[in-house]
């Protein structure tokens, strides 16, 4: 369901406005709502986005019995989640509005702060910095070759400094310092 939302035409239009942002899939939330009188049901999907500077945004998808709505909220200040810019799609065009949010419910939906200090969360965080999977494999290859060719030692130093910094950031983010 979440990947279907991300692949929808409206989501593509909205995310094209925030090209430096990428989704934090694990922090996505799906909420089902039903009216007290049973007249309508709805599903709300919140997908947090973040950029390399750790700015926050959230893609909100709402589907009820009669229609669907996709919008994106970009938080202008990561420390103050009441100031935001709202992006919506109308007739295939992206419209944007700036303003203060009266409540920070959207902010809570977009908050990527995690309290779970687990290996999978840390690896996922390192992946955002390019330090997991393929990047890490290249670093390991450079490390093995380092004693034999000094060129790869330069690459290893880059890996240690950059990924070490990323590790320090991710550990504080997930587990606290």
């Amino acid at each position: 369901m979440i990947s279907q939302v991300l692949q929808s035409h409206d989501a593509h239009l909205l995310t094209s406005k925030l090209r430096t942002y990428h989704p934090v899939m694990k922090e996505s939330r799906v909420t089902s709502l039903s009216w007290a009188d049973g007249s309508q049901n709805a599903i709300v999907i919140s997908i947090p986005f973040t950029d390399p500077d750790k700015n926050l945004a959230v893609l909100q998808y709402t589907k009820n019995d009669s229609n669907t709505q996709t919008s994106m909220v970009k938080f202008l200040n990561k420390k103050d989640l009441t100031k935001a810019r709202l992006y919506t799609v109308e007739n295939g065009e992206v419209l944007s509005f700036s303003g203060n949010l009266e409540a920070n419910n959207l902010g809570l939906a977009a908050t990527t702060q995690s309290s779970t200090c687990t290996a999978s969360i840390l690896i996922q965080c390192l992946g955002l910095w390019g330090c997991s999977g393929y990047g890490l494999a290249v670093c390991a290859a450079a490390l093995i070759l380092c004693p034999f060719t000094i060129v790869s030692c330069f690459a290893v130093y880059t890996c240690v400094l950059y990924c070490g910094g990323a590790w320090s950031y991710c550990f504080c983010w997930a587990c606290g310092c």
């Binding site: 910095w129 034999f148 070490g164």
Partner: protein, 94 residues
């Protein structure tokens, strides 16, 4: 060892792996996230800087018999990095 001698096959394979990896990293970044991470650029830059430095100080590009101290340094570095990751990952949060 003179640098004009042909390097052994495993060093050539290592170079190819690292160069292909260094070039593929930003390409994969762009395909997956529509952006290139700073790490990809830094890694390529470090390889280029390393090559230029070896040319400037006229060091051989490779050796098949690294010194014992070099091997020990790399081993210690490897243990520190892997040990830190395992230790930090396995210690539960307070």
């Amino acid at each position: 060892m003179k640098s004009k001698e042909k390097p052994p096959i495993w060093i050539i394979i290592g170079w190819i792996l690292i160069l292909v990896g260094a070039v593929a990293n930003p390409v994969l970044d762009y395909i997956k996230h529509q952006r290139i991470s700073p790490f990809s650029i830094l890694f390529l830059g470090a390889l280029l800087a390393g090559y230029i430095v070896t040319k400037i100080i006229k060091w051989p590009l490779y050796t098949v018999r690294p010194s014992r101290s070099a091997m020990i340094s790399i081993l210690i570095l490897f243990i520190i990095v892997v040990g830190a990751i395992l230790l930090k990952t396995c210690v539960p949060s307070g």
